[in-house]
Amino acid sequence: MKTSRLSAFFLSLILVASQVFTFAADAHSEPNSKKFNASEFIFDHIGDSYEWHIFSYNNHHVSIPLPVIIYSNRSGFHIFMSYKLQHGKVFKGFKIAEEGKYRGKIVELKKINAEDVSLPLNFSITKNAFSIILISILLSVVFTTIAKRYQRNPELPPSGLQNVFEPFIIFIRNEIAIPSIGQNKYARFMPFLLTLFFFIWFANLLGLIPIFPGGANITGNISVTMALAIFTFIVVNKNGNKSYWKHIVSPPGIPIFLKLPIPIMPLVEFIGIFIKPFVLMVRLFANILAGHMVAVVFLSLIFIFASIKASLGFAVAPVSLLFLIFMSLLELLVALIQAYVFTLLSALYIGMAIEEHH
């Protein structure tokens, strides 16, 4: 017990320390700019990118190139690795826009060195997409391994990884699925809820690790949370029963003038179908993004003060680090809580959609 607590403490220390070092390296490697640009620094760390930057040393960047997949009306289909676009290079007429309204996106130059650009269809495997794939592989390996162990010795008490995740699986079943959906129908939705929970949780945790394979702000990206919310939306509405739809078309127990001639309540109910997953999407996105942002802001405080005067940076560093440690520990908790909340609300929406009204 004591050793595990100690090791957890050291793990979080290493976590924070590595965060500091990577960010520090990045901050120092800002090329040709004496002035530290905090907002750029922050947005670089919470945004997506076409390559996976690992660390920089004396203007020498080490990053994992990721595949860029592009379809353009003019030049057709392209797949190439992202390092060809590194540092503003132009490849096959494509480049990463450095400013303007397409800043950060891959644009196609209509003429060489022209300002006239267009946006191609972009299905690149970005840092976040790659992280999602990594997490999917990780989850598949972890849980199929556990499943095998369950099958091999079903009568034995759980051990190892099995023991780590069993309480969560049982918690989701007994505290989320059964109360929200009901004893009779919960089983059908268990795979979805479990996948949702563990995917979000793993993504949150991996986002907290500052270096590869973590570091991507996965669940703090609205596209990712939108994908998850779309899944909840599909599961809820695909399984919605007659009374669920009846409640939307003609909500019972409200005066008729709210339904006819202008269908105010049906309209509200209809919008509600979309608001529910929308809220899920925004909640997860905002929570994780905010956590990452605050952590990076605390860190960039050091460099903001250091850019004024070096000694000021040293003076601020301990306070910043303390806050950073605190934030990291808080984010560990938030990672679990947000996964729980997303799963719980999804289960509640499913429960509402399949509830039998008498």
Binding site: F43, F123, T126, A129, A147, E166, A227
Partner: protein
């Protein structure tokens, strides 16, 4: 890339990955895990129920044992009481019988004694009569040796004969 504007490329990959992940985990992980958990819970519940049943059975057996012991004790006591009563009865009967027998013996003895006394009396009479006769004979003989005396005695006897 905008912070709050979703990117369709990433959305596409996220949907695809999550969809595939959902399928893989559903088929190869959650189904066996949930099934195994359910089986284990069922088996634990069954074992608990069986243990409870065994406990109840044991309690019932103990209760039965107690009842049996109690019954045996009661029976033994009853038997003992019966035996005691029987013994007393036998003793009483024996005493009665003995008393009657003794009485009978006594009666018999008394009768015997009476009989023997009668006999003895009779014998005594006979003997006395014999002796008397002998004596009388001897006396007579001695007295009748003398003629005169015989005469006298005869006269006397005649005199004694009532005169009517």
């Amino acid at each position: 890339m905008g912070l709050v504007s979703p990117d369709y490329g990433l959305l596409f990959w996220a949907l695809l990955s999550f969809g595939i992940l959902l399928y893989i985990l559903k088929k190869f992980a959650w189904k066996p895990i949930l099934q195994a958990l359910k089986n284990r819970e069922d088996s634990i519940a069954r074992s608990m129920r069986m243990a409870e049943e065994a406990r109840q059975e044991l309690l019932k057996l103990q209760e039965e044992n107690k009842l049996m012991v109690e019954k045996a004790r009661l029976e033994r006591e009853k038997e003992l009481a019966e035996t005691k009563a029987l013994r007393e009865k036998i003793i009483a009967e024996a005493k009665d019988e003995a008393r009657i027998e003794t009485q009978k013996l006594l009666d018999k003895a008394r009768l015997q004694i009476q009989l023997e006394r009668k006999q003895a009396k009779k014998e005594l009479y006979v003997n006395v009569a014999q002796l008397t006769l002998n004596l009388a004979e001897k006396i007579l003989r001695s007295q009748l040796q003398d003629r005169q005396k015989q005469q006298e005695y005869l006269e006397k006897l005649i005199e004694e004969i009532p005169k009517n």
